[in-house]
């Protein structure tokens, strides 16, 4: 399989950087970064990533609304939610909105890679 392209969505630059490092080290191409839900939707349309990582709490448009929108655009969209501990209800909401999997902060590299890999396969 060709290098999968990934769109990273997170409102903090630190998190985006962390994710970017981990994923590119493991052979994924980062096709774009978004700081909020609205930007994620725009980038999804323009970059057509194979997978999106989606933070839940973000300004302008939160992750859950963004997941719903993206699923509307593309039923086959592959989205992995990034959540913090204690966001159980939100994670479940995101999953029922169509997200494939979730990872919990603080991130552990192998978990992220595993989740992304599984989501791309499934």
């Amino acid at each position: 399989m060709a290098m999968a392209g990934i769109l990273i969505t997170d409102d903090t630059a630190f998190m985006r950087m962390t994710l970017k490092n981990i994923l590119s080290k493991n052979g994924y191409t980062i096709v774009g970064e978004a700081q909020d839900g609205l930007e994620a939707i725009d980038k999804y349309k323009s970059e057509k990533p194979d997978l999106v990582t989606m933070d839940i709490t973000m300004p302008k448009m939160d992750g859950i609304a963004a997941i719903k929108e993206i699923m509307q655009i593309d039923q086959g969209a592959k989205i992995v939610v990034c959540s913090a501990m204690g966001q159980k209800a939100l994670v479940i909401e995101a999953l029922s909105a169509g997200a494939k999997d979730f990872i919990v902060k603080p991130f552990q590299p192998d978990r992220i890679v595993e989740a992304v890999q599984k989501a791309l396969e499934g």
């Binding site: 159980k88 999997d101 979730f102 499934g122």
Partner: protein, 669 residues
């Protein structure tokens, strides 16, 4: 996440697991190839590890993890069960128990586990098989269907409907990675997969528990689906953090329903026809039928019912003197309902004495081993129920009695053989109902008590004189054992034989309004019987009046009521006494006794009522003004201001609102 609020439940559950492990290890000692027990210990250690990990108790996690490794080897046959292994595992359990105590009291961890960890590590065999482990795991689980959740009748109805629609019934067990975060969400993802093609019927633990992340690393569930196992399994396996999945298809329940439903619940695991499932099944069933309630909530309820009972009596008295017709009927039905409520509530206080007995097999094993003696323990009547507060206090006295039996009662093996006895000693612990008492007996077939030896020892210690010794009956001689500072042990061991035990035992039993008896035959054995009241909260009491107050005497302590005339009174050692059934009983004036004067009864110029009370061997005649009758009274504590008053067990409120003190005969006379 505030973990403090989970601490209580963590402690309670952990202790249950420890108990299970203790029992299973004991079972393993007698049948070393009992796979079910190995499983039990393994599962318990595993669950404990998971719980401790969540709570952040590092030491417990470490220790249980190492235990798990050893148990894993055991389970796979890489390791043979032997007594060294058993000893180390038992030590681990003790260490865990200690850690729980430290957690409970909030103390700094004192206990060192590095030694234990080292011991465990030497036991462990080559730890290189991690790749095969999960497979072996799966194999073992397949063998064993204990984990399958039990279904209630209504759940069977749902199952039946699904089966009618040609859906299949499955049970699945999912183990998550140990360090999984948001486990509940993982479970949710699993259930979502399941519900794509069917219906989730039941989960273990319950859905709510799972939703609240209240489970270890694993959960199990029963569901129906129109999909084939090959379609479902990969989907669950592909969920992140899912380590292993076991999926079994259960036989359609519709066929066997007829026979199963009669029993109230049916075990779907039966369809797997495994004999071992039964035991576990019934245990789970038991769990689902109980609710954990904090004991102080229960105490409040019991207290309130006590108040209600008192007020009921009052209302009935008022209604008797009232003209209004309806009131009598209403108060009669109030009477009936409160009586029923009272007995129902009292049952809540009752707990099986098993709670206390459970620790004895382990204790007897350890003590016997230490002393190099063989001891066979038989426990009977562990389901006998007793008031919770009595159960809480009866443990230590029993421990002491059992220790004595092993230390001093049971002879060494060669000695026993010489006497033609079975080289292995026998101890029987039994609880049973005996009227309004519960009798708890500890019997051994050891050397028995030698009255002459006891007398000699008592004389040597200056407790009695030579002349007194001659006149003592065998029973009276045995009573010497309960005196402060008595011990006949030729060799003082570190656990008993210091002479500070039996007097404490007697005191605890008497504080509980109980009695203690010794029966012994030299060379044959000793039997110690404790008789304990069924309950402490409500007792039957004889109400008596003195010159200035009403007093309640527990009927257990009352042996007789008499009317005596002045000429019945004799003087023994300048003390007033009367003869009751050829026994001389000192006569005491209740008012004076309570006033702290131990002076004998004052001048008796006319016939007076005397209540003969007794506790154990001691008896006394209490001079009272009037006998008022028997009544059930609710014992209320006097509160911390007054604390423990000599001779007073508590107070009660009578039907007319007056307060009566309840006498504690054991400390009074």
């Amino acid at each position: 996440l505030n973990l403090d609020e989970y601490k209580d439940i963590f402690l309670a559950e952990s202790r249950e697991y420890l108990q299970t492990m203790n029992q299973s290890l004991l079972a393993l000692e007698s049948t070393p190839d009992d796979q079910e027990s190995v499983q039990q210990v393994f599962r318990s250690a595993h669950s404990l590890k998971g719980m401790a990990g969540t709570m952040g108790y590092e030491m417990i996690t470490q220790l249980t993890h190492s235990m798990e490794n050893v148990l894993q080897d055991l389970r796979e046959g890489n390791l043979q069960f032997n007594s060294t292994l058993a000893d180390i595992l038992f030590q681990c359990l003790d260490a865990l128990e200690q850690m729980l105590l430290e957690i409970e009291s909030g103390e700094e961890a004192q206990i060192q586990i590095s030694d234990l960890l080292k011991k465990l590590r030497t036991l462990e065999q080559s730890p290189c098989v991690s790749a095969e482990v999960s497979e072996a795991d799966t194999e073992v689980e397949r063998e064993n269907s204990n984990w399958i959740p039990q279904l209630e009748i209504y759940e069977h109805e749902i199952l039946k409907e699904s089966v009618d629609q040609h859906e299949k019934v499955y049970a699945a067990r999912v183990v998550l990675r140990e360090d999984t975060l948001l486990k509940s969400v993982r479970a949710y993802m699993v259930f979502r997969v399941v519900e794509e093609g069917g219906t989730l019927i039941k989960t273990a633990p319950a859905v709510q528990e799972i939703e609240e992340d209240n489970f270890g690393d694993e959960f199990a569930f029963v569901f129906t689906s129109r999909l084939e196992p090959e379609e479902i399994l990969p989907k669950i396996e592909s969920i992140s953090d899912v380590e292993t999945v076991v999926l079994v298809e259960l036989e359609s329940p519709a066929v066997q329903n007829e026979s199963g439903v009669n029993e109230g619940t049916m075990d779907p695991a039966q369809s797997e026809k495994k004999a071992s499932t039964k035991k576990m099944g019934s245990k789970q069933e038991h769990k689902e039928k109980t609710v954990r309630v904090e004991t102080n909530k229960l105490d409040i309820l019991i207290n309130l019912v006590g108040e209600l009972v008192i007020n009921r009596t009052r209302i009935i008295e008022i209604s008797k003197s009232s003209e209004r017709g309806g009131l009598t009927e209403a108060s009669e039905s109030l009477d009936r309902i409160t009586s029923e409520m009272q007995s129902a509530i009292m049952k809540l206080r009752m707990v099986p004495i098993k709670q206390v007995f459970d620790r004895f097999p382990r204790m007897v094993r350890d003590l016997a081993k230490e002393n190099g003696k063989g001891v066979n323990l038989t426990i009977r009547g562990e389901e006998t129920e007793l008031d919770r507060s009595i159960v809480n206090q009866i443990g230590d006295p029993l421990v002491h009695i059992i220790r004595n039996a092993i230390d001093h009662g049971i002879e060494a093996e060669d000695e026993r053989e010489k006497q033609g006895k079975d080289p292995c000693g026998r101890i029987v612990i039994e609880a049973r109902h005996e009227g309004s008492y519960i009798a708890v007996e500890v019997e051994d077939d050891g050397c028995g008590l030698d009255p002459e030896k006891i007398k000699a020892s008592a004389i040597r210690k200056g407790m009695i004189s030579n002349e007194e010794a001659v006149h003592l009956s065998t029973e009276q001689t045995y009573q010497l054992i309960f005196r402060n500072g008595f011990s006949t042990a030729e060799m003082v061991t570190d656990i008993s034989g210091r002479g500070v035990g039996m007097d404490a035992v007697k005191k605890i039993v008497e504080d509980l309004n109980g009695l203690i008896d010794i029966d012994s035959q030299p060379g044959k054995g000793t039997r110690i019987t404790l008789r304990l009241p069924l309950t402490l909260a409500i007792i039957r009491a004889l109400l008596v009046s003195t010159h200035n107050q009403i007093l309640a005497i527990p009927v257990e302590n009352v042996t007789q009521n008499l009317l005596i005339s002045p000429q019945d009174i004799r003087y023994v050692n300048n003390q007033k006494a009367i003869t009751v059934r050829e026994e001389i009983v000192p006569l005491l004036d209740l008012d004076e006794l309570l006033a702290g004067k131990c002076s004998p009864a004052g001048d008796v110029k006319q016939d007076v009522a005397v209540v003969i009370v007794g506790t154990g061997e001691r008896k006394a005649g209490l001079v009272v003004n009037q006998l008022l009758g028997q009544q059930e009274v609710v014992i209320k504590s006097l509160g911390s201001m007054l604390g423990k008053l000599k001779g007073i067990a508590g107070a009660t409120v009578l039907g007319d609102g007056r307060v009566a003190l309840i006498l504690n005969i054991a400390t009074l006379i």
